[in-house]
Amino acid sequence: MFKKVIFLALLCQVVPLNAQESDIVGFWNQPAPGLSLGGVAALFGFSEDAIERADGPPVVDFLGIPLNEEALSRALAYDSAILGVPEHVCMRHPSTYSFWGPANLRIAAQLNENLDIISYSVGGTFRRADRTIWMDGRDHPSEHAPHTWAGYTSGQWENGTLVTKTTHLKWGWIRRNGVPSSDQATVYTYYQRNDDVLTITWFVEDPHYLTDTYMKSADFIIAPQGVTTASFDLEAADTNNGVFAECLNRAEIARPEKHYVPHYLPGENPFIGEWANDIGVPIDATLGGEETAYPEYRDQL
């Protein structure tokens, strides 16, 4: 929460008060194309978050994440072999994470007969947990409504920044090495355009796994020539140089047990200390916690 207050204070300083709305509609690319991994990564722009791409971040690297003991227990139980279990193969990047993944965005606005903006559609994140941002003041669904990877999002313009709230999320993760998010997490996302750059900043609040707000940001640059995004239509993907998004649950590894759930028992994760050793920090630092999110934590190392 403290981080969010600071962020809002900074926002008020840099955004003209008369700028009520900005034009975020269009194509947005991640800046600075980087690694080319088999041609896939070259489709997307990678920059400061390259460590999150391809195979993902190191396992048991939770530094800077304000996770509690419950989240740590689950994160240490995480075995990436779960990604080969058919029921898990096709899971999308949830809104607690998705802008941190490879994402070339297409943002569109839906207007009513008076040309008021009813909603925005934000599409293009990995495996397409496309987000609809409802701008017409409607309520969030009831507690019995389904939860989705994108969640249910409402938004409003505040001093030139689109501020959104997302609820009804599925169980998911906030980092691709097993740090969990619960189905009761809430994500607040801020879309701020400065000339040709769209900065998206999101805050995850999770009463079950986080002791403080978890904050991340990603920059996108305008791409008037269009961007490549994943398509659900195979023909369109072929003809439009797109990436086919359909994913079907298929067993990738033959296992004797039909419903197998890979995981590590408490104290048996073999990767504890591996990354700590690689970069020369104490193991405790890699286990995260609120204190590791602040610069002064370096003084303790």
């Binding site: 003991e69 419950e70 989240a71 227990s73 689950r74 139980a77 779960i82 029921e87 898990h88 193969v89 096709c90 899971m91 999308r92 495996r127 397409r128 947990a129 009831s142 507690e143 019995h144 409504a145 389904p146 939860h147 989705t148 990877w149 599925k170 169980w171 969990p180 619960s182 189905d183 009761q184 009463p207 079950h208 796994y209 659900f232 998004a245 359909e246 994913c247 079907l248 649950n249 039909k258 419903h259 759930v261 995981h263 028992l265 408490p266």
Partner: protein
């Protein structure tokens, strides 16, 4: 000078305490029976997909399949909410109720049986006539409801509320409203009489208390439930469900309590149950921990905050399932 008997007591204290604890624990095993979450929220009707609706806010979730032929109901809510269930069904369809399935004997899934049973010809308007509603359950539910007695020998469940059709085969199928419906016995999950109901055409699975997203698995050992049976049931449901592209939608699930779910939600719950089973296996079978030590080891860490409820706490769950690993 300490007497010999006192010395014996001092030396044997840890053993005696363990014995007392073991006796108390054994006694507790027979008493730890899960309670469903309290009835909360406003009555709500949500169209799930196809011909199936959810009625929420009446205790356990109620599923309704309705079309030209009539109304097929799965579970009847908590005691005292029967009239609410009837009025909600009337908003979905003016056709008569023909069938009810009770997914288990859990209070919040049979509570409205008596109210629905007296509807003339199953008519929610009261204007109908004809045969009473056919109430289906696995036969263990019928058996237990018919023999349950209170402390003074009084019948707990009035005869009017009993199922009229107890099935004993592993699976029963029927067509209603042009839709194939599977009623599948899950032998030892919440109890020994659980059924899940799958509406094939609408692609909606109704799980009863075998799956909820409001708390830890409800397991009643006094009525034949088990953790192993719960995992088997969750896996069997995963064999029924098929998600749409990218692990979302497709088969929808109406859980016993909580929000409308899909396969990914069921996977999350199954994974949790599987991991908890493995942790308990390690602590109890391999390491030989007693119940007190198991509670101290906190094998549910990771889900305690999300699923601990006053009426079915983490410790109650552990005390109930401990016996299964001995």
């Amino acid at each position: 000078m300490i007497s010999l008997s006192m010395q014996f007591l001092i030396k044997a204290r840890p053993i005696l305490l363990s014995l007392i604890f073991a006796v108390l624990s054994t006694t507790a095993f027979a008493q730890v029976i899960p309670s469903e979450p309290p009835v909360s929220g406003e009555l709500e009707i949500i169209h799930v997909q196809g011909n199936v609706w959810l009625i929420a806010g009446v205790g356990g979730n109620v599923a309704v399949q309705a079309s030209e032929q009539g109304v097929f109901v799965v579970d009847t809510g908590a005691n005292g909410f029967g009239e609410d269930v009837i009025s909600a069904i009337a908003k979905i369809s003016d056709r008569p109720i023909r069938y009810i399935v009770n997914t288990s004997i859990a209070d919040q899934h049979i509570g409205g049986n008596s109210d629905l049973a007296i509807l003339p010809g199953g008519s929610t308007s009261g204007a109908g006539r004809g045969a009473r509603i056919n109430v289906i359950s696995q036969e263990n539910v019928l058996f237990r409801m018919s023999v349950s007695r209170g402390p003074n020998g009084e019948q707990i469940h009035p005869q009017l509320s009993w199922p009229t059709d107890g099935y004993y085969e592993p699976q029963r199928g029927q067509i209603f409203n042009g839709e194939a419906i599977d009623i599948i016995h899950m032998p030892n999950a919440y109890s020994d009489g659980d059924s899940v109901v799958y509406f094939r055409g609408s692609n909606v699975l109704v799980s009863g208390d075998v799956f909820t997203n409001t708390g830890l698995p409800l397991i009643d050992y006094s009525q034949g439930g088990s953790l192993a049976g719960t995992i088997d049931a969750l896996d069997q449901m995963l064999d029924i469900t098929i998600s749409d592209d990218l692990a979302e939608g497709g088969t929808y699930i109406i859980p016993g309590h909580g929000y409308i779910s899909d396969e990914a939600d069921l996977v999350e719950y199954r994974d949790m149950t599987y991991i908890i089973r493995d942790r308990l296996q390690k602590l109890i079978v391999e390491d030989g921990l007693n119940l007190r030590q198991v509670l101290e080891a906190r094998p549910l860490l990771g889900w305690e905050s999300r699923y601990n409820r006053p009426e079915w706490t983490v410790n109650m769950f552990l005390e109930a399932v401990y016996q299964e690993f001995q």
